[in-house]
């Protein structure tokens, strides 16, 4: 029973961690570039809805996921236009985009589907990994997952490489720490920040698409219930380091799936207590790490060329 329980918990936690991981990797990139993206919740929700809609209409999970990414990317572009080009307060822009995303997705879902709650009913492309499969306990938790699941975890080294080993990553850090110097050195602050927020938006959309198209295969009004905001906080808790973000995301995946685990064990705890754990956990994690991480200096500060 124990081995089976550990397998089940690990399996559920790794899946539950994926949306948080994806959103958080994108948010880390945006924050590194100096953009605090509070619109992440609206972008993720849009990824959920437009991903679900496209998957439902075409019957293809791939098209669904791409649509989700596109929706997030477009909202990222809007965030960029308002906060980078027009230099409007990022918090205000973020909240506006979150309200807009929540409103548009809820409106369209109700308008198109009425009172029905259909399933996307698409192939999630489960992948069995030959050797890993047969590892006891851990193997079954890792193998047999949707393709996007593996892509998500492979994005961790990819983001680590991008942020730490490429010219783009260097530029991102430069425009987030000291945009004036970056500008003087010939780095386009605007272009770099636009690229960063588009990555942030696309990743939030991907996170939503994973949730609605691959994992649950359905849409619900407001279904992200703060997962985007948790992803934002995980980026901070993880110190904008993809590896630490991955570990933090797994921990919160564990918290998210704790309810099922306890049910298997037959422990009777009110679901409300389990459901609220990630939200409390984020606050605890932030307290423990408060002051220990150095924020990008220019986080939240609009850049106007030639101002100083």
């Amino acid at each position: 029973m124990n081995a089976a329980f550990v397998t089940a918990m690990l399996s559920a936690a790794l899946v539950a961690a994926v949306p948080l991981l994806l959103a958080s990797l994108g948010e880390a990139t945006a924050e590194k570039a100096g953009l605090l993206n509070l619109g992440i919740e609206g972008m993720m929700l849009s990824g959920c809805f437009f991903g679900f809609l496209a998957a439902y209409q075409t019957g293809s999970s791939t098209i669904g996921v791409l649509a989700g990414v596109l929706a997030g990317l477009l909202l990222g572009l809007l965030f960029g236009f308002l906060s980078i080009s027009l230099q409007v307060d990022q918090t205000l822009v973020g909240i506006a985009i979150t309200i807009l995303g929540a409103g548009v997705t809820a409106f369209l879902y109700r308008d198109i589907f009425g009172r029905q709650n259909p399933s996307a009913g698409v192939d999630a492309h489960l992948v069995n990994i030959p050797l890993v499969e047969s590892i006891p306990v851990i193997g079954p938790a890792i193998s047999g997952k949707p393709l996007l699941f593996y892509i998500a975890w492979l994005l961790v080294p990819a983001f680590a490489f991008m942020l730490n080993r490429t010219r783009f990553g260097l530029n991102v850090r430069a425009v987030g720490e000291y945009p004036f110097a970056a500008d003087a050195a010939g780095v386009s602050v605007y272009r770099t920040r636009y690229a960063a927020i588009m990555i942030g938006g696309a990743m939030a959309g991907l996170a939503g698409a994973f949730l609605a198209v691959i994992d649950l295969q359905l849409f619900q009004v407001g279904m992200t219930v703060g997962l985007g905001f948790i992803g934002l906080a995980i980026a901070m808790v993880g110190g904008w380091n993809p590896w630490r973000i991955a570990i933090t995301a797994i921990m919160f995946g564990l918290l998210r799936s704790l309810g099922n685990g306890l049910q298997i064990l037959g422990v009777d705890v009110r679901t409300e207590f389990i459901t609220m754990l990630p939200y409390i956990g984020i606050m605890v994690a932030l307290v423990l790490l408060a002051g220990r991480t150095a924020l990008p200096s220019a986080l939240g500060v609009p850049y106007a060329r030639g101002r100083r």
Binding site: D89, T91, I95, I99, Y279, M283, L286, G291, L295
Partner: protein, 388 residues
């Protein structure tokens, strides 16, 4: 040079007091236009929709009455929100604070209803609601003041915790044992808030007006209000001036929490009579958009609150005949904030020299252009690990 004088002349056409609201008006009109295109794309007739929205929402007695009833919690909530935003504190947790306040008021009110005179019960329930909302702001306040933790994230998280905690409480400890659905004991209709004589609007509306008035007085005539404004305008200046920054920050959060709790109590005492498990009015987003469109000006909240209340009620009234989901109101609110952001940009761009962004930034007011009242707007949020 000619461009400058042209802008100055154009701006001079408008009374200075109302000038900043041109941006808000632009945001509203643009939101309606884009919202209309959105409706048309979905195969609905936007003109019919807006026609119904305005004729039913503004033109019928029922619409106006419902709007005024709905106005009360919006006024109370946005008065509190203003208190926080003017001090540069982003209390995004007003929805959670409202829920806890409503639950507290429902429990306290129904516990003593019948055994004390109704007005005493109202007072106790209102105080309980304020206490509930205040308590829900305590954690973000402590985390912000003691640990420098950004209140945006903590208040957001507390919203979701509130949903779960109230849902658990109302299913278990404070549930009315005599009925099946998860809800608190009902406060009988005759013991709820009475109507304003000659109307069908309960007296909670007056509470809302008083709440706005209190906040207006605080900002216009008291040292406290001045200090909150200084804090919101420039945190470091406030520290240098020796203001009790920690206390002011905590006050802004706790007070706006108490206001949100009172708004919850108002709905329980005036409309609902009990707290239901799945009740989540989520006024927060509307209140947020509205306070910004009112340019963080305490008295201008009044017309904007009426407008938003009308939107919510009119949106419901047009929903059924035209089969437009009520979420359309939320679409409009989101669009308004987006266009408001655009308008603020143009306002800054065409601002007279002395109010140019550069001059403002030199004074340390990064987003000062957003406010209309003498003083001003929240600073940029200082996220986790705030230095100094």
């Amino acid at each position: 040079m000619s461009a400058t004088s042209a802008t100055t002349a154009r701006r001079a056409l408008l009374p200075s007091g109302a000038r900043p609201f041109v941006s808000s008006l632009f945001a509203i009109v643009a939101a309606f236009v884009v919202g209309g295109v959105f409706l048309a794309l979905r195969g609905k007739d936007p003109l019919a929709a807006y026609g119904l929205l305005f004729t039913r929402g503004l033109g019928t007695g029922y619409g106006v009455t419902e709007t005024l009833i709905h106005l009360a919690p919006l006024l109370i909530m946005s008065a509190g929100l203003l208190l926080a935003l003017r001090a540069g504190i982003w209390n995004i947790g007003v929805d959670g604070q409202l829920l806890v306040g409503a639950l507290f008021a429902g429990v306290a009110g129904s516990a003593i209803a019948g055994s004390v005179p109704a007005p005493v019960m109202w007072l106790v329930a209102a105080l309980a609601g304020m206490l509930g909302g205040l308590l829900w702001a305590v954690v973000p306040a402590i985390l912000r003041v003691k640990y420098g933790l950004n209140e945006i994230i903590t208040t957001l998280m507390m919203n979701y915790v509130a949903l779960n905690v109230t849902s658990w409480l109302v299913k278990g400890p404070v549930k009315d044992p005599d009925v099946v659905p998860p809800q608190t004991r009902l406060i009988p209709k005759e013991m709820r808030l009475p109507d304003i004589p000659g109307t069908e609007i309960h007296i909670g509306l007056l509470v809302g007006l008083v709440a706005v008035l209190v906040v207006a007085v605080i900002f216009r005539y008291t040292v406290l209000g001045f200090q909150l404004d200084v804090l919101g305008r420039n945190r470091f200046a406030a520290i240098h001036a020796g203001l009790p920054v920690g206390k002011l920050t905590a006050f802004a959060l706790l007070a706006s929490g108490a206001f949100a709790g009172l708004a919850g109590a108002n709905d329980i005492l005036g409309v609902k009579g009990l707290f239901q498990g799945n009740w989540s009015p989520a006024y927060g987003f509307a209140a947020f958009a509205m306070v910004y469109l009112a340019r963080l000006n305490s008295l201008w909240i009044l017309p904007f609150a009426y407008f938003f209340s009308f939107l919510a009620i009119g949106g419901e009234m047009m929903a059924r005949p035209l089969e437009i989901p009520t979420y359309f109101t939320e679409v409009l609110e989101g669009l308004m904030l987006v266009f408001f952001a655009v308008a603020v940009y143009f306002e800054r761009k065409f601002a007279p020299a002395d109010r140019s962004p550069d001059a403002m930034e030199a004074e340390g007011m990064p987003s000062a252009a957003i406010t209309a009242e003498p003083i001003v707007t929240p600073e940029l949020p200082v996220p986790t690990g705030e230095r100094r």
